[in-house]
């Protein structure tokens, strides 16, 4: 698959996943947030999909930067600058699509660092980082695609017992315990979409 085809394919796969799971994300956010995560993600990724043709004609790095800026501008919730900054940082870290496990790990790590900086947060606060970081670790540990998917799903479940200390869920204190973090779930959806693309390759 050439770069432009993969750019377009990734956009479609991520967009479709978000679209299909938007209500689920919103329900998760209703339990411990303001119930807009599905709407926010859909708004953001629809805007990215609307730029599909332009993005397909860019290098992988440029496309990531552009998509990141679109998320920043369109999402409307905290997840906008968080995912947006992650995409932009990943785009800055590489021009070309990663060719090796090491490069893939480096790319994701750049995104994670951006989320940490933008969110002033780290793992354990019951956020998207609690999926992204375990996924990075599994990649670094040599996991195959199925293992990466499993790592993501397990990480989502593992946010359930966590006490939220960042984002809106933190307002709930103890009452945030026992619910999956919506951003953790959306991160897993993106990870699955990337896995889909890699399997098609």
């Amino acid at each position: 698959m050439t770069s432009d085809v993969l750019n377009a394919r990734l956009i479609d796969l991520i967009g479709d996943r978000i679209e299909a799971h938007a209500d689920e994300l919103t329900e998760l956010d209703q339990a411990i947030g303001d119930g807009d995560h599905g709407d926010n993600m859909r708004r953001g990724f629809r805007a990215v999909s609307a730029e599909r043709d332009a993005l397909a004609n860019m290098t992988f790095g440029e496309a990531l930067k552009k998509a990141g800026m679109t998320l920043v501008m369109k999402v409307g919730g905290a997840s906008g600058p968080l995912y947006g900054s992650a995409f932009m940082a990943m785009g800055k870290s590489t021009e070309a699509m990663p060719e090796s496990r090491a490069q893939a790990a480096q790319l994701l790590e750049a995104g994670i660092e951006a989320v940490k900086a933008r969110g002033k947060s780290d793992v354990g606060a019951k956020t998207m980082l609690d999926v992204l970081v375990p996924v990075l670790k599994s990649i670094e540990a040599g996991a195959d695609i199925a293992d990466v998917r499993k790592a993501a799903d397990e990480a989502v479940e593992a946010t359930k017992p966590m006490l939220a200390t960042k984002g809106r869920a933190a307002f709930l204190g103890e009452r945030s315990v026992g619910h999956i973090d919506p951003g953790a779930r959306s991160s897993a959806l993106i990870v699955h979409a990337v896995c889909d693309a890699l399997e098609e390759k």
Partner: protein, 129 residues
């Protein structure tokens, strides 16, 4: 008006942002420039990075701009907006760690008195409910 610190009010709710700006104007009249923005890019509850950038630019003052935000996403989106305005401008913009309505009134009365950006921020943050 640009000889004083300006105020930007960012809320998830366009009505909160506008109403807070009304309250501020009632206190300080036209002594300082005030902008308000609320709602996501579709007008629902949320915040809009592009709108925040526009608001800051609309009231730009060489004395600086104090930004008041409500909850979580409003702060993250405002930080993003400030970063996107570039490092030169960012130096003269602060997000006040203060409640949005009360902090806006406090910041504005301080700014109307001609205080510098740091003093305005401090006054907003000193607010005790």
């Amino acid at each position: 008006m640009t000889d004083k610190v300006s105020i930007v009010i960012v809320s998830h709710s366009p009505e909160v942002a506008k109403g807070a700006a009304d309250m501020v104007r009632q206190m300080v009249g036209d002594d300082i420039a005030i902008a308000s923005c609320g709602g996501n890019s579709e007008g629902g509850l949320g915040t809009d990075v592009a709108a925040i950038m526009k608001s800051i630019e609309a009231v730009w003052s060489p004395r600086g701009v104090a930004v008041l935000v409500d909850l979580g996403g409003a702060e993250t989106n405002s930080e993003m907006a400030i970063e996107l305005l570039g490092p030169e401008k960012a130096k003269q913009i602060v997000i006040c760690n203060a409640p949005v309505v009360e902090g806006a009134v406090m910041a504005a009365t301080e700014a109307a008195g001609g205080s510098d950006l740091e003093t305005v921020r401090q006054t907003a943050e000193d607010f005790k409910a």
